[in-house]
């Protein structure tokens, strides 16, 4: 679906990170956690391509004036890294944006009742919030949030409000444990008697570590990947990532925008 969206709010939630709330058409309310949108960040040809962003949350917007009808809306949590995201960060309420979505596959919610362990690095927390909201209805949920500094730990109170138990680790020790969040994950897994299911989104090295931990404990694990995207719908084949059978001699590429961005971790190649 392609639609024009109105910005409802766009606020800096941590240095370099913004949270933007946008209106959406009624059909958008059916978006699944882990799906993403492609946003046209400017009207001109530079930046040219749309930018992909995860769906942080879905809700309903009721305008303040009398007689106004409520409308679905969604939120994005984004980090300013370059031209496009810098432009996004300058937008204000009532500005318009051209959006394509929801796109991609989204997370599978797994077995009800089984403990769910969410692992997010930095802005990788973005798609995990909507996921957590869905999961808490049927399972205990714990979040492992990692980042370089305390500035990279986003929206933890929102997760806590859902009843999610949160573990925080930063590489410089400025918040929570000092070190990698995967260490906290490993100790939790060692305490657990029954099975657990893993869901992760964040930088590639973190996902690789989480995939290895899941394989070691033989538990299901889904990861949400990034790819450099031009179209977002499976037409350009720019966004592909190596699958588990991938070698230089027998290439095996998966389309991140269409077959993903969420994949079972064991289906991917983690070699590089």
């Amino acid at each position: 679906m392609q639609f024009t969206s109105m910005v409802l709010s766009n606020a800096e939630v941590s240095p370099g990170y913004h949270r933007m709330r946008l209106t959406a058409p009624p059909e958008f309310a059916a978006a699944r956690a882990g799906q993403f949108v492609m946003v046209r960040v400017g009207g001109g040809i530079d930046p040219l391509l749309r930018r992909p962003f995860g769906i942080f949350d879905l809700s309903t917007h009721t305008p303040l004036h009398d007689g106004a009808v409520s409308q679905p809306c969604f939120e994005m949590l984004y980090r300013v890294v370059g031209k496009g995201t810098a432009l996004l960060s300058t937008l204000h309420a009532t500005d318009r944006l051209d959006v394509l979505g929801p796109l991609g596959t989204g997370f599978d919610l797994g077995t009800p009742g089984a403990e769910k362990l969410l692992v997010g690095g930095g802005v990788g927390l973005a798609p995990l919030y909507l996921l957590a909201r869905h999961l808490v209805q049927q399972s205990p949920v714990r979040l492992f949030a990692g980042g370089r500094t305390r500035d990279d730990i986003l929206c933890i109170t929102e997760f806590e409000r859902l009843g999610v138990e949160c573990y925080v680790a930063t590489e410089d020790g400025s918040l929570g444990e000092c070190g990698l969040v995967t260490e906290a994950l490993v100790s939790r897994l060692e305490q657990l008697e029954g099975g657990a299911e893993l869901f992760a989104c964040g930088p590639h090295p973190m996902l690789k570590a989480v995939a290895a931990i899941a394989a070691y404990h033989a538990i299901p694990c889904q990861v949400s990947l990034e790819g450099y995207m031009a179209c977002g719908v499976g037409a350009c084949l720019g966004c592909v990532t190596p699958g588990h059978g991938h070698t230089a001699e027998t290439p095996d590429y998966r389309c991140v925008c269409k077959e993903g961005p969420v994949f079972p971790a064991h289906e991917l190649g983690w070699e590089e």
Binding site: M1, Q2, R40, I45, D46, P47, L48, L49, R50, L100, G227, Y228, M229, A230, C231, V233, G234, A235, C236, L237, G238, C239, V240, T241, P251, D252, Y253, K258
Partner: protein
């Protein structure tokens, strides 16, 4: 009165002169939810080879000002899977599907042309002799007029369907290449494919693309494409399809004035999935507003 938007392109009857460009529209189905395929003249599918091709390592694309570089490496499903999985969709759409294809020897090109000739759902063939991202198959055929002529002649013998040859801009003289292809039996010429380019990441001191170089497309290449269409239109008789950075009806009409009988929309579909449809509608409105009865009246009508 509504202007006449139809064109006859090398025997292909098109309802309007706007098509989508190979590699930017998948196999037609990918964008079908976003664009009414029956509002465009034709669509061209992703470059096809005999065997499936895996494509290049990632990163495969990067944006540059006003354009993008791609080094997909012609990833495609191969002819067998194409017939089994993609052709049924082509049959469902009442719009000509043109299949873009390539090989690594003239024999391979001819074999593919022959296989495609037997598929009734394939309305026309577009021979890619211009892909910058494969070592064999691209560069030589696309830059040496004798080799190009050989490939085109071999395809010509293998098919009765309209045969379009897509030219590379990465040559010293595009007119020589165009003439060689027309002489060898091409019914029409598409120009241009992407321009070889490169992007560097200063921080890592490395090229951005895994393949080091890639093909530049998008608005940034439009002036080069327009110039090439204009040069070729003055030298060869076969109809031309203008490609390169077309994002609006104005862009498309400029290509028609320069001598193109039809246009292809590439990168613009990534940004606006319905770009091709909107461009066709915009052209029709422009003709109506300017009292032009037939779009074909504008072909090559450049005053200079």
């Amino acid at each position: 009165m509504k202007p006449d938007m139809t064109v006859n392109l090398a025997g292909l009857e098109l309802r309007n002169p706007v098509m989508t460009a190979s590699g930017t529209f998948g196999y037609g189905r990918e964008f079908a939810d976003y664009v009414d395929l029956e509002k465009i003249g034709a669509f061209v599918t992703k470059g096809l080879s005999l065997k499936p091709r895996p494509g290049n390592p990632t990163p495969r694309i990067v944006e540059t000002p006003g354009g993008m570089l791609n080094a997909i490496g012609l990833q495609n499903v191969g002819i067998e899977a194409f017939i089994a999985e993609k052709v049924p969709f082509l049959a469902r759409v009442n719009t000509p599907a043109i299949v873009n294809f390539f090989g690594s020897t003239p024999e391979e090109y001819a074999e593919l042309a022959g296989r495609l000739d037997e598929i009734p759902q394939v309305a026309g063939l577009e021979v890619n002799i211009s892909c910058p991202n494969v070592k064999q198959g691209g560069i030589v055929f696309g830059t040496d007029p004798a080799c190009a002529g050989q490939v085109v002649a071999a395809c010509r013998r293998a098919t009765k369907k309209p045969l379009i040859v897509k030219l590379s801009p990465n040559v010293t003289d595009v007119v020589v290449m165009a003439q060689a292809c027309a002489d060898a039996g091409a019914d029409a010429l598409s120009l241009i494919n992407t321009l070889t380019g490169m992007a560097i990441d200063l921080k890592s001191r490395k090229p951005v693309l895994a393949n080091i170089t890639g093909g530049l497309s998008g608005p940034a290449i439009k002036p080069v494409a327009l110039r090439m269409v204009w040069q070729v239109s003055r030298a060869v008789q076969v109809p031309l399809i203008g490609i390169g950075g077309i994002t609006s009806a104005t862009d498309a009409l400029e290509f028609i004035l320069a001598g193109a009988s039809a246009v292809q929309v590439g990168t613009a579909s990534f940004i606006t999935p319905s770009a091709s449809q909107e461009i066709a509608q915009g052209m029709e409105r422009w003709l109506e507003e300017h009292g032009v009865a037939r779009v074909s009246d504008l072909v090559g009508a450049l005053e200079c």
